[in-house]
Subunit: 280 residues, 2 copies
């Protein structure tokens, strides 16, 4: 499987390091130079990276995916095209605009790091992490299978999801936790600060860690696509908190107790799932 990666940032660079035989390209000369110094096979232009590839990965910012797909579909008409964006909302539109015969499958590797750029890239970035595969109207069994193979070559666990399901899960697992964590930190910041930072322990720190998400990423996640869905989820969580406040004050504890138990079970399942996947 010949893989071409366009965009050698953290994700693209890591993919090029993780999957043997990958050819990479980046429009930024410095990124190409650093990638080369790290052992990546870097082409000097898009067409020499893409020509002859079986899979082309557009590891570029969301607003560059459509242009990368258009170029790749022209240069390698039989290649499977995939992206790495965390939102799949616009993917179907890009896919449908390509010439007939183009194969497009969405990828969302759930991996990241606090570092940025190819300097922070690492061959093990995807190891044991989930890799969501989101088929489009331009996907078929072979193209979905090829992207699954790419994910596994990088050490990730491929999971095929519909676009709707992927957006719903991202709202629950990424956008809502960011909002909840930030709302807790913001609300606590109104409180008088005396003793607050001194007494904050690991519980408060973990619960508010996502509040440190850089502004640009936080705004992309909260103010980007699908605001209505996010709002519904935030209102559900807010409703749970006000219900608990009311029930605790009027000493109606059985519902809170039952919901705390369900929360504990849900979270224990997560820990079991991660033990299972690390044991594999």
């Amino acid at each position: 499987m010949r893989v071409a990666v366009i965009g050698l940032g953290l994700i693209g660079g890591s993919l090029a390091l993780a999957v043997p035989g990958t050819r990479g390209f980046d429009h930024d000369e410095a990124a190409r130079r650093i990638a080369r110094s790290r052992g990546v096979d870097v082409a000097d232009d898009v067409s020499s990276a893409v020509r002859g590839a079986d899979i082309v990965v557009a590891a570029v910012p969301p607003d560059g995916v459509a242009a990368t797909f258009t170029a790749a579909a022209r240069l390698a008409p039989s290649a499977v095209l995939t992206d790495v964006a965390s939102s799949k909302r616009d993917l179907e539109g890009f896919a449908a605009s390509l010439p007939p015969g183009a194969h497009v499958v969405g990828s969302h590797p759930l991996a990241g790091s606090t570092g940025r750029g190819v300097e922070a890239a690492a061959a093990d970035l995807f190891r044991g992490r989930a890799w969501a595969i989101v088929p489009t109207s331009r996907s078929d069994t072979d193209s979905v299978r090829a992207v699954g193979e790419l994910a596994r070559s990088a050490g990730a666990r491929p999971i095929v999801l519909s676009q709707q399901r992927h957006e719903a899960l991202m709202t629950w697992l990424v956008r809502a936790p960011l909002a909840v964590s930030s709302a807790l930190a913001w609300s606590a910041s109104i409180e008088s600060p005396e003793g607050l930072t001194e007494l904050a322990g690991p519980g408060f720190r973990d619960a508010t860690r996502l509040a440190t998400t850089p502004a640009a990423l936080a705004e992309e996640l909260l103010f980007g696509a699908d605001r209505e869905r996010l709002a519904v989820v935030l209102r559900v969580i807010a409703g749970t908190l006000t219900d608990w406040a009311d029930e605790i004050v009027r000493d109606d504890l059985p519902p809170v107790r039952a919901e705390l138990a369900a929360a504990r079970d849900m979270r224990a399942q997560l820990d079991r799932a991660s033990e299972d996947s690390s044991a594999k």
Copy 2:
């Protein structure tokens, strides 16, 4: 400073291991045996542990503190009495009921572990952690200073707070994060589970980690003392989430943006504070 620790569980056992010259006692014979095998100087009864002590630490469950203080005040009338409970709401009542001349100062070491009992005790449990000191009407400068010295001997950072301030901070830093984390996990558990555990990454895991708090502790924190204060804080956080939902949907982003920035600053201060304290 001669220290007596009554109750050799996780906290009492760790204190006995951390502070040289401590004598310990536990009503449970097995706990005494294990503590001895770990090198603690363990007395065979309360009176030989307490007699001659300068400080007596009641490291027992909250409902055993009053009885331990009463016994200690009789056996060592000039000793400073302190506890380790996370709520200081009932402490003033216990203190006031003791004979005149008894010295009582509240202690809340902010340290813990997922382990239980003296088996999980560790000499470094308190190292670098905060230790709240809450004076009562039965505290004076010397007794507060003695408890500060105890905290420092254990490797902790003593912080003196009023009982009111201590309860307010515990609500923001311990009780509310537990509720918020559980409300997120519970709300997500209503969602269809397909793909949820597979796609959950470190962000969602951190934000929901407190939902794994054991039921008995979670109920003590949420259904115990000062329910009104907790309810107010939960309603503030819920209100923030619903405001953000409304503002995001109607594209009124400046207030959300400003509050996200304040949350980020607040959380960054925490990280700076912990770097400062670990650098010491």
